[in-house]
């Protein structure tokens, strides 16, 4: 594609591309994001190409490898257009049938379509699947329509229209006013109004300014940014360019976490393509505006998701956060005014410009406009990326979209906000999810990770998990975080091991005040939140651990024992054979018994025991019945009638 030199030329190129694309030509899209790669979509892709060649259809069918579709639980996902027939959990072996039955024969392959786990209803088309139907995929939706390596695909769906509008007809101040009017709040965790940040950077004295995309996405359990960056990098580039123009920056950085190699690859390739077409570099679209972008990788430090630490990392230093004020908008990268925003925030910008602030603000709640992408993961049936307008309830997200809790287990809580966030128990399920409501409930929006927990999750252990994470990731500069987190972790670990003491909860609360108030950065300040939130809603679990030596979720290894109920054991020997520690005494027709001091609590016996017997159970906080004496262990079988 030749270099595009003006907004008019941009539209001509777009029309040309669309004219060469027949909307009725069959197109098979295959989700090729990192998660689907984990479920071997590459094999499906290879099988697809092979089969199409075999059938002589290579020229008649377009195959598009897209970024993340979001329904990650059911990947690899294959969609046949123009009908929108959606096949889930596709394997390489399924491909010949898909081609012959559906593509050619126009028949549905029933076993590959979506089945609702509760009603049993099938949904053949993408737009009928409840997971998608109940979302509003304004930002993530384009992922299914484009190959992230193809700028033509992005142009075909309206890409760069916003940039054209900005560069040809809007002054920088107008752009800022539009973003302010849209009330777009940062999607990375802080929720700070983006327009106000942009304005501060624009007004800060100095010629040289920078813009940065924060794609560090360190919150464990969150991967929205990965999918956006892998699946639609051009959208992020467009948003960044618009922001750079508004602020007056000519150099941008994209900081991608090193753990996302595909995102690094796709954004680097997108930058190259954009440069080739004149959509980056000098005199973009003939506007006189120059802008270049460099990609930097992270090197394995969660703290570098914090904006001042990220800036340090870009400067080639260790990721130790800096005190604010001064804020990066005034003194940031190389002490120059810098505006840093999260990937999803930048990805919303083309939408804000294209739709206009008025339309953008028609979605969402009073204090939180637009949509938010959440990664709905954990103990939920439909795990994946969910984009909903601000204000949808937790219940709708977990049940309507998420399909509820698997294996008939009971919902316990939803955790949001990553390691600085908190849990919402069942009583808060009808909460409208937005920035302020989540903060009021003792949690926070964070980057969008939404982790569903069931009755088997121990909330004390869950808090311990987060503190362990933070202890590993703390930069170590300030005492309240370095020492405080360590001490909180020590106490929580003791509690989960049954060594909790009187006064532990009070000490945790004291340490929470110290770290929460006096730590240098948001990592330390937020560190107490998992503890405080679980104490607020699940204090009884802490007390059971400390006072009764009991783990109510039967999860903490040191507080549980496995026990075979002699009334239920049928000596099938499944557990005996599976036990890796030879901790079960048993044999044919002998009631099996767990040898407690050999047992490693791995849980294999519980998994092995057939459901119809259900003889293995976990005990906690109660004395273990003494094993039956050897003589009493023989099972007398009822004799079969011959």
């Amino acid at each position: 594609m030749p270099r595009i030199n003006s907004t008019a030329e941009l539209e001509t190129v777009r029309t040309d591309i669309l004219s060469t694309r027949d909307p009725n030509k069959p197109c098979i899209t295959l989700c090729s994001g990192s998660a689907c790669q984990a479920t071997h979509c590459k094999k499906v892709a290879a099988a697809l190409e092979l089969e199409l060649e075999k059938q002589g259809l290579t020229d008649k069918v377009h195959v598009r490898k897209t970024g993340c579709h979001g329904f990650c639980e059911k990947g690899p996902i294959l969609v046949l257009y123009p009908e929108g027939i959606c096949y889930l959990q596709v394997k390489a072996e399924d491909v010949p049938e898909i081609i012959s039955e559906t593509l050619i024969g126009k028949k549905i392959v029933e076993r590959l379509v979506y089945v609702d786990p509760t009603t049993g209803e099938k949904a053949v088309h993408e737009h009928d699947i409840p997971f998608y139907k109940n979302q509003e995929r304004l930002v993530l939706g384009l992922n299914t329509k484009i190959d992230p390596k193809s700028i033509e695909d992005y142009l075909a769906v309206g890409g760069y229209q916003a940039l054209g509008k900005v560069l040809s007809s809007m002054a920088p101040e107008q752009v800022i006013n539009e973003v302010k009017a849209a009330s777009l709040r940062g999607r990375g965790g802080g929720g700070f109004p983006a327009g106000i940040k942009w304005e501060a950077a624009r007004n800060a004295p100095g010629e040289t300014k920078y813009v940065i995309v924060n794609c560090d996405e360190g919150d464990p359990g969150a991967y929205m940014d990965r999918s956006l960056m892998e699946g639609n990098p051009f959208c992020v580039l467009e948003g960044l360019l618009i922001g750079a123009y508004a602020i007056g920056a000519h150099e941008g950085y994209i900081y991608v976490r090193q753990e996302y190699p595909l995102a690094v690859e796709n954004v680097t390739s997108a930058i190259r393509r954009a440069e080739e077409c004149g959509l980056l570099g000098k005199n973009i679209l003939g506007s006189g505006f120059d802008f270049i972008i460099k990609v930097h990788q992270g090197a394995g430090a969660f703290v570098c998701g914090e904006e001042t630490a990220l800036i340090r990392s870009l400067e080639g230093k260790v990721g130790e956060p800096k005190a604010r004020p001064p804020y990066p908008a005034v003194r940031g990268l190389w002490d120059k005014p810098t505006n840093i925003n999260n990937v999803e925030t930048w990805a919303n910008i083309p939408l804000v410009i294209n739709k206009g602030a008025a339309a953008f603000t028609s979605i969402g709640t009073e204090g939180s406009k637009g949509t938010k992408i959440f990664s709905l993961v954990g103990k939920v049936n439909n795990t994946g990326l969910v984009e909903v307008p601000m204000g949808v309830t937790l219940r709708d997200i977990v049940y309507k979209i998420g399909g509820g809790i698997p294996d008939g287990k009971k919902f316990k809580a939803v955790q949001t906000g990553g390691p600085a966030g908190g849990c919402m128990p069942e009583s808060l399920l009808d909460m409208a999810v937005d920035f302020d409501q989540l903060t009021k409930a003792g949690s926070m929006m964070g980057s969008g990770g939404m982790i569903v927990l069931d009755e088997e999750t121990c909330m004390v252990d869950f808090a311990r998990y987060f503190l362990g994470f933070l202890a590993d990731e703390s930069c170590g500069k300030c005492v309240p975080c370095r020492e405080g987190v360590k001490q909180m972790l020590t106490i929580l670990t003791r509690i989960t091991k049954g060594k909790g003491k009187e006064g532990d909860i009070e000490l945790l609360e004291e340490l929470a005040e110290v770290a929460g108030s006096s730590a240098l950065c948001a990592l330390g300040k937020g560190a107490p939140n998992p503890v405080l939130s679980t104490l607020r809603h699940f204090r009884d679990e802490y007390e059971a651990h400390i006072n009764q030596g009991k783990c109510p979720s039967y999860s903490c290894k040191d507080l549980i024992s496995y026990y075979i109920d002699p009334d239920k054991c049928q000596a099938c020997t499944s557990c005996f054979r599976k036990c890796p520690a030879e901790a079960i005494e048993g044999g044919k027709n002998l009631i099996h018994v767990v040898i407690q001091d050999k047992c490693t609590k791995c849980g294999s016996c519980l998994e092995a025991c057939p459901v119809k017997f259900g003889a293995v159970k976990k005990l906690s906080g109660e004395p273990i019945p003494s094993p039956l004496p050897q003589e009493a262990r023989t099972i007398v079988r009822k004799s079969k009638q011959s």
């Binding site: 004020p325 703390s474 300030c478 005492v479 020492e483 001490q487 004291e510 005040e513 110290v514 006096s518």
Partner: protein, 217 residues
């Protein structure tokens, strides 16, 4: 540079723009405890002992006085019940590393900190960073630095540089509040042997020389 008017502990003070709360307080004779602060070094904000409460734009927060710049109409409180609790806990956490540190004990007395509150930690170092920062900013030798992060962070000498520079310098030694620095130096001594031609004659002729070269000050 304009003048900024702010209030500290109920008293008004005017200072130049760009000054920190600590500098403003010092100019009024108000004492805020510090540990990692040194007038020859860039403010660090690591120990957080200088934490103060500030009211700004309708919000109250706790900030490090050594770093936080003065703002017009800022209201600062240098000693409240909350700050006392915070300082006491910070001291107790540091005393777990260095219960015999004079600097820590002095502050511990004032705030009622108990050195046995937390389990004793094997490392004396409280990461005030004075040694590393002094060598980097004042001596510009960078003979020692930090390694790792979080609670695993340690100070570490660079043997090649330390063997050239440290024997005749040791200016950072008196800065260490806990003697962790001296301990680190002694432990690294095997690696930081002074260059042969610079060894004093008595040490060069006998490896068990009892002279004061190369021992702790």
């Amino acid at each position: 540079m304009s003048d900024i008017l702010l209030q500290i502990d109920g008293r008004e003070v005017t200072v130049r723009e760009g000054a920190t709360i600590l500098e403003a307080a010092q100019s009024m004779g108000i004492s805020i405890p510090t540990l990692c602060h040194h007038e020859k070094l860039e403010p660090y904000g690591g120990c957080r002992v200088c934490s103060v409460e500030v009211d700004s734009r309708g919000r109250t927060s706790v900030v490090a006085a050594c770093l936080h710049p003065v703002e017009q109409d800022l209201v600062v409180r240098t000693r409240t019940k909350k700050l006392e609790r915070i300082r006491k806990s910070l001291l107790e956490m540091m005393l777990a590393h260095a219960p015999d540190s004079e600097a820590l004990q002095e502050l511990a007395q004032e705030y009622g900190a108990d050195k046995a509150r937390f389990e004793k930690d094997a490392s004396f170092c409280i990461h005030c960073g004075l040694c590393v920062r002094y060598c980097a900013e004042v001596k510009k030798k960078n003979a020692l630095g930090f390694i790792d992060r979080g609670a695993r962070k340690e100070i570490c000498f660079i043997p090649e540089i330390a063997s050239r520079e440290c024997w005749d310098c040791k200016e950072c030694f008196p800065l260490c509040p806990t003697s962790a620095l001296q301990a680190a130096f002694v432990l690294s001594k095997a690696l930081i042997a002074p260059p042969e031609d610079e060894k004093p004659a008595c040490c060069a002729s006998s490896s068990s020389c009892a002279c004061s070269h190369g021992t702790l000050p």
